[in-house]
Symmetry: C2
Subunit: 283 residues, 2 copies
């Protein structure tokens, strides 16, 4: 496994690949790997001749009050997991190399970034689109693998790649969960033990919404009530949002459709959890 | 010469080039070619194995009161000039193909876009960076050729390409001028015959500033006064700005440096002219 630490070295490596006819898969990450990241790497490994993983805790996507400095950075463990997953190249740029003095360009996606996570984390998505746009330009992959857990992020990055003609096939991969249903996240480690016990309520609520749809419920209001009621009855989690949305525009729906996504975010103390479930109405 | 009209067809063409080891040169334009554009094409032709020209009147870089609808579009003449210059591929996307419904991504450069043209044309540079970022992603050239006449634009695009890791070598080519010194521009056709006679005052003023520097003038104030005085004495052109600037940051200078750029913009009736001169202090 090759470890590349600078943009220059990555560009030189990439230029050498162009003459070979490789199918290049890419997994952009902030490190602190869990089984969700591993499943993205494995998926890339299965479908691509060469697999590149980037590890970069991107300062641009953290808000001023967020956990940039405390964000876990278990570098050696991360590299070992990459090796184990059969990754070919790990790109681990320094902050100074990636955003040198004078850096002043940003990539912004419009309406898709406004609701849900965008409303709660003002500058977050602009940080994500800027870093991923640059990573895709540097790595030039054929396919990039993203986790469904960050559903809105997947939609936004897909829109960016299309709008800017980056020509990368964005592949959304299933959310990996703990046995009690909690979606894996590098931030789950912040949960107190009592919050950890409560945490599965979000996924439970989304599943109850999905079940009610599958059983024929057509009132958006009642689907949302089912989800909200579960959270309120079973925990003191604070609901940021629980919504029935269009799978592509992410707009909240007034009427059920063939395919929908249920998006949710709750706060447990200082920790914010997000999750989602895609659901089809019964035929 | 191949004429490509859709993004899809361009991507297919570009994918086929990857196996060949071509050096690809690109000239992004809005059409309405004059000798300035031709010199860019010729420069690309001399130094690159394959030359792509894009012709796209980009709505995003026009302000609401600007001349988008009236902007000249002599398509057949333009194509003939491309053919004559030995261009290999002309990319002429439709507005709807380039910015389909739902398009919502923009690329923004920061401080470099604020002064000078940015101050006079609020959304202009964001339109330029967005369209060029997309064109570079689609064409994937090794080198792109830009005219020095739009000096600030050259700096901004250079910054964007570096910041986003687009890996394109941006080549700034000399401004082509009429025999009386007026920089060629597709908008010169808007000048009334009397304004056309007055128009060379801008380049004259910049040259007088440059001469005073070469002759040892070190006061920025006096250099600017020389330039302003020429415009005021010889015409009723309205000065937007005339400034002695850092060649890379474009900041107005307090003291002369080894290398500087004199930037100017004047209005003649409804027509706005810009020009610039790079100058070195005497050794």
């Amino acid at each position: 496994m090759k470890i590349i630490r600078t943009i220059r070295a990555l560009q030189l490596w990439r230029a050498r690949q162009s003459s070979r006819n490789v199918h290049l898969g890419f997994v952009p990450t902030m490190g602190a790997f869990h089984a969700g990241h591993q499943s993205l790497m494995q998926r890339a490994r299965r479908s691509c001749g060469t697999v590149v993983v980037s590890i970069f805790v991107n300062p641009l996507q953290f808000g001023p009050t967020e956990d940039l400095d405390e964000y876990p950075r278990p570098r050696q463990t991360d590299l070992a997991l990459c090796r184990q997953a059969g990754v070919d190249v790990v790109f681990v740029p320094s902050r100074k190399d990636f955003y040198p003095p004078g850096f002043q360009t940003s990539v912004t996606v419009g309406v898709l970034t406004r609701p849900w996570e965008g409303a709660h984390r003002r500058t977050h998505f602009q940080g994500v689109t800027t870093v991923v746009a640059k990573l895709l330009n540097l790595v030039k992959p054929h396919r990039a693998f993203l986790g469904q857990k960050d559903y809105q992020q997947c939609c936004i990055l897909n829109q960016m790649v299309t709008d800017l003609g980056q020509g990368v096939n964005m592949v959304m991969c299933p959310t990996i969960r703990e046995s009690d249903g909690l979606a894996l996240s590098s931030r789950n480690g912040y949960l107190s033990s009592s919050a950890r016990r409560t945490a599965p309520v979000l996924y439970q609520a989304l599943n109850m919404g999905a079940s009610s749809i599958r059983e024929g419920e057509t009132s958006i209001k009642r689907i949302e009530t089912v989800m909200q009621a579960h959270i309120r009855k079973t925990s003191n989690a604070k609901i940021d949002y629980l919504a029935v949305c269009h799978t592509e525009t992410l707009e909240p729906l007034n009427h059920t459709r063939k395919k929908m996504v249920l998006l949710g975010a709750v706060r447990l103390g200082k920790v914010r959890l997000i999750d989602n479930v895609i659901v089809n109405t019964p035929v």
